[in-house]
Each structure stands twice: as C-alpha cells, then as structure tokens.
C-alpha cells in the first residue's frame, strides 16, 4: 500500500453530534483516516464507539458538524440533496447491510433486487442490465436459479452473498461493509469471508466496520480502533493485533476469544479496565 498515491477515501477531522443544548451528545470527535485504492481497512469499535456513524456520515445519512469526507474529488460534506442523489446513482460508494434478511425487499425477486441500482441510475438498457445481473452472481458463487426466487426462500448465507453482489453491480470504487458476517453461522461465515478475501485480492477497496475482531482479522490490511468517538489506534492489521499500543486496543485485542492464549492475560485486562474508567480517553 503506497501512501504517495491519492487516497480513495480521506476523512479529515470529522465531528458529529446529536441533539441540542443540554442533551447534546458528541458521537465523533476529530476522526481522521484514509484508505488507499485497493486497500482493505477495518474499523473496529464497540457499542457507543461511533463506528456506525462513520459509515452513515460517508453515505450521507447523517449530518456532520465539522470536517471533510473526500472520495476521489468529491467532498461529500458539501453535497446538496440533489447532488447526493446524482452521486449515489453513479454508484461510486456502495454499502452492505448487516442484516441480509431485511436489506432485500421480501416482495421482489432476487433478480429485481440485483437490478435495482442499475435501473435507478437509468443509464443502461434492459438487456445490458440483465447481463450484468447474471455476471454479478459469478463473483459470489451463486447459481442463476436463484434469480426468480424471493428472499424468504433462500438461506441466510445466500442472502448475504446476494447483498454483496448487489453492492458490486455498479462497479463501485469503495465498498463499506457493516458487520457482514455477524448474523451468519460458521459454515456461511467462512464462505462469505472467503468471497470478501477474494474481492480484496482482486483490487477492490473495502471498509469493514465491526465489533468482532475475528471476522475482520483475515481480510483487512490495516485496522483503526475507535473508542468513544475517537481514533485511538491505527496501523497494519498484524501490528495492531500482535502489539496493540493504546490501553483500549490492548483490552479489545486481549478480550477477543482465541483458541490459543493471547498476549494479554486476565490480570492485565483488569488493570486496563481500571485504567480506562479512571482516565479520559485522549490523555492515554
């Protein structure tokens, strides 16, 4: 990964808050990070870290107070409603939802759901769309017999693969995945993780958002750890997982269950917890 290249996604000093006056809560505080083209970045955080808000800010679903979000040459924080619609129709940034069952319309067939982004964009003819839909199945290892079916008739693993196929169909530059395997059982998890790894290998730029270190460890090049709206650690995946620096990342990595004993033991976990409750995040 080369830092000299222009980053595909450049988030600078992002501030997002919610509510007014006394009830105002700061969700994100000065969040900055970049993703280079072809890189897979993992954004790790627990409940209350603000990780979902980062995704929603990039997708334009939430208002930002301060900061810039640059995708190629567009500053997304400055887009009007109409400009957002145009930007979205270009399909440059795509999103895979956490829950495969509810992200597909139960009353429309898989074929219809897959074609939807292209139909909304309105630039391609019906035959070309049909071809693209058929081609998209190949990347996620699904058969064409799934096309006339409805979401309720296929398995959870198949649904999530359809969701990934739909995200790929506009040839996006950046794909954001929110907990892509959390809702799946073991066999399906491995399948989907393998597909995502293949995607990464083929040069796609991915942003994984998860609380589960285990599910992103195998597919990401770099990791960012988010704690209470701030970035507390950043670095190559292997580094962050083997030698986490910030107390919170140490606690996080040390808490994730592993088959073999990790570097952080119980006594240290207790110590880290104590440290985190007693001190303000930014001072650590």
């Amino acid at each position: 990964m080369s830092l000299d290249q222009n980053p595909l996604l450049d988030v600078r000093n992002l501030d997002v808050s919610y509510g007014h006056g006394a009830k105002r809560r700061q969700i994100l505080d000065g969040v900055s990070f970049r993703i280079a083209p072809g890189e897979a970045l993992g954004l790790i955080g627990e409940t209350g870290s603000g990780k979902s808000t980062v995704a929603r800010a990039i997708l334009g679903l939430v208002e930002t107070d301060r900061g810039e979000i640059l995708v190629e040459d567009h500053d997304l924080t400055t887009l009007s409603r109409t400009q957002w619609r145009e930007f979205r129709r270009e399909g440059i940034v795509q999103y895979v939802f956490q829950d495969p069952l509810r992200s597909l319309d139960p009353e429309r067939t898989i074929a219809q759901s897959l074609a939807e982004p292209l139909e909304i964009a309105g630039a391609l003819g019906r035959d070309v769309i049909r071809e693209r839909v058929a081609a998209s199945l190949a990347t996620v290892a699904l058969d064409a017999d799934i096309l006339p079916r409805f979401p309720g008739e296929i398995s959870g693993g198949q649904r999530q693969r359809v969701a990934v196929a739909r995200a790929l169909i506009t040839n996006p530059r950046l794909i954001i995945l929110d907990e892509p395997v959390s809702a799946l059982d073991s066999a399906n998890r491995v399948n989907v993780i393998e597909i995502l790894a293949a995607l990464r290998d083929s040069g796609a730029t991915l942003l994984f958002i998860s609380h589960d270190l285990g599910s992103v460890a195998g597919v990401t090049d770099r990791l960012i750890v988010l704690y209470r709206g701030q970035v507390v650690e950043e670095g190559p995946t292997a580094e962050v997982l083997r030698r986490p620096g910030h107390p919170y990342s140490r606690l996080l990595v040390g808490s994730a269950p592993t088959l073999r004993r990790g570097a952080v033991d119980r006594a240290e976990r207790e110590e880290l917890r104590r440290l985190l409750t007693e001190h303000d995040v930014s001072s650590l």
Binding site: E46, T47, D185, S186, A187, R189, V190, I193, A197, H211, D212, L213, G214, S215, A217, G218, V219, T237, A238, L241, R242, L251, L252, V253, G254, S255, A256, P257, T258, L259, R260, R261, G262, A263, R266, R269, E270, R273
Partner: protein
C-alpha cells in the same frame, strides 16, 4: 474417548446424560439423537454447536424445562446421582436454584421490566431461603458487589431498561449464585455482548466458579469462547455429538471435519492467525 477416570479418587459425577433422545411430538422430528456427556465436580465442560444443533435443547432437558411439544423419548439424565425422569414438580423446585442453575443469552428477557433489579435478586432469597426483607436486601447487595457491580446501592434501585447488557448479565449471575448451586450452566451467556464486556463476564463466571466450587457448563457457537475456559469439550452437530475430548486434544487434533472447520475458521481468518503460540491451553 471416555471422560471417566478409573481411579478411586476421581471427583464425583454431578451430571450424567446417557443416550438422550428428544423428539418434537407434533411433527415427530428427532431433535437430539443419542447424546452422552457428563460433568464432574469442579470441572468446566464446554459445549460447542450452532443454533439447531441440539445443545440448548439437551440442556433444557437437564433443567427439566423442555418447551411444550418436545419430549424426552429415550435415555437418562442423572443429576447428583438421581434419575430426573422420576422427579416431581416439588423435586424440580428443590433442585433448581440450589442444585443446578443457568444464565442464558438475552439477559433483559429474564428480568421483570417493571421491578427494580435489586428487588428481583432479593425476591429469590426471600422465596427460597425464607429471609426477611432487610436480610434479603443486605444479602442481595453483597451479591451485587460480588459480581463486580461498582455501586450496588444505586444499581439495586435501577430498572432493567436502565442497565447495559453486561450489567444485566451480572445481575442474573448474582441471582444464579445466590442459592449456592453446585452446577452453573452458561448458555451463550456472553454472545450478545460487546467484546470487552464478553471477556469481563466470562472472567467473572470463571471467578465465581472457582470461588464457590461450582461445576460449570459453558455453551457457545464459538469454539474460542469455550477454549478459553473449559477443561473438556463436546461438539454438537445436527442433534448428535461429533467430537469429544479434553480441550487440548480437540484443538490440536480434531477428528471430525466439522470441528476441523471450526478450528480452521479461527486459524485462517480469525485472530489466531496473529497470536503467537504462547502455550497451548492446558486442561
């Protein structure tokens, strides 16, 4: 491989399940088909399996809490040496709480949302131990402290909706150990919690186990959760047990392909790719 030691000094078997068969009476589907496992005093047994593998149903049978429509169609369950098929309601009431107890996945749904949590802990003590109101409250506060709740007095008065998942699970653990049981079952008890909270609650469960001399059954779909704490592991798949052995054995030399899939998932794509092989988990 049998878990039974043959020496005289082997700790007693507190739970023995032999050839258990459970059937759905409505559509006659066999949900659990001939399952054997046992738990010895002071031991930590890990049960691994997906939802639908039969693990939770087997444990509900052990607790005498099979849902309507399901029935034990064969095999025996011996709790502290007694055959539970002969238990009456009175016997079950007696053994639940002070003999065997459990915590499950979604803590909020096991607490009454309209009663402060402290009162719910105290209620168990009053009903089962006959303690008076003040004594029960004092004991409840001690228990809340024992489960590492920082401000027991405050939490005592709070309602379930005011507390996080991790806190609620601690409250349930407080209730679970309040009657000094001999067996504790933790069925996906940490699954719905954040990672750091999971570790906290798991650490707490192990702590309580050691302090109270409990025998523990930890159930999870994640082999790693079980690997962290269990001495012996049993793997459920589609209603049968496909693998059993000490934790070290199952992790290093899995026999069944399903177990191998579970292990490889962690080693290829999970954190184990990055953790140094510090020391294999020793039983």
């Amino acid at each position: 491989m049998s878990l039974l030691l043959t020496t005289e000094t082997a700790p007693e078997t507190v739970l023995r399940v032999t050839d258990l068969r459970i059937v759905n009476e409505v559509d006659e589907v066999v949900l659990v088909d001939g399952v054997d496992f046992e738990l010895r005093r002071g031991q930590v047994l890990g049960i691994v399996g997906e939802s639908g593998s039969g693990k939770s149903i087997s444990l509900r049978a052990v607790l005498g809490l099979l849902p309507a429509g399901l029935a034990i169609a064969g095999g025996t369950i011996e709790l502290f040496g007694d055959d539970t098929s002969r238990f009456t309601n009175v016997d079950w009431n007696h053994v639940r709480g002070s003999g065997i107890t459990a915590v499950f996945q979604d803590p909020g749904s096991y607490l009454n949302p309209s009663i402060p949590v402290g009162k719910q802990v105290a209620e168990v003590l009053r009903v089962k131990r006959g303690l008076g109101r003040r004594a029960a409250k004092a004991q409840a506060l001690t228990l809340l402290d024992e489960v590492r709740i920082h401000d027991p007095e405050l939490v005592f008065r709070q309602y379930p909706h005011e507390l996080s998942g991790g806190m609620l699970q601690r409250v349930l653990l407080a209730i679970a150990v309040s009657l000094e049981p001999r067996i504790l079952i933790a069925d996906e008890a940490t699954t719905a919690l954040d990672v750091t909270v999971q570790a906290e609650v798991l650490d707490l469960i192990v702590d309580l186990t050691e302090r109270h001399g409990l025998s523990l059954i930890v159930v999870s779909h994640d082999l790693a959760v079980v690997a962290q704490v269990a001495d012996a592991v049993v793997v459920f798949r589609d209603g049968v047990i496909v693998e059993r052995g000490s934790t070290a054995q199952v992790l290093h030399d899995p026999q069944h392909e399903y177990t191998r899939l579970l292990v490889s998932e962690h080693e290829l794509y999970g954190l184990d790719r990055f953790t140094r092989d510090v020391a294999a988990h020793v039983s």
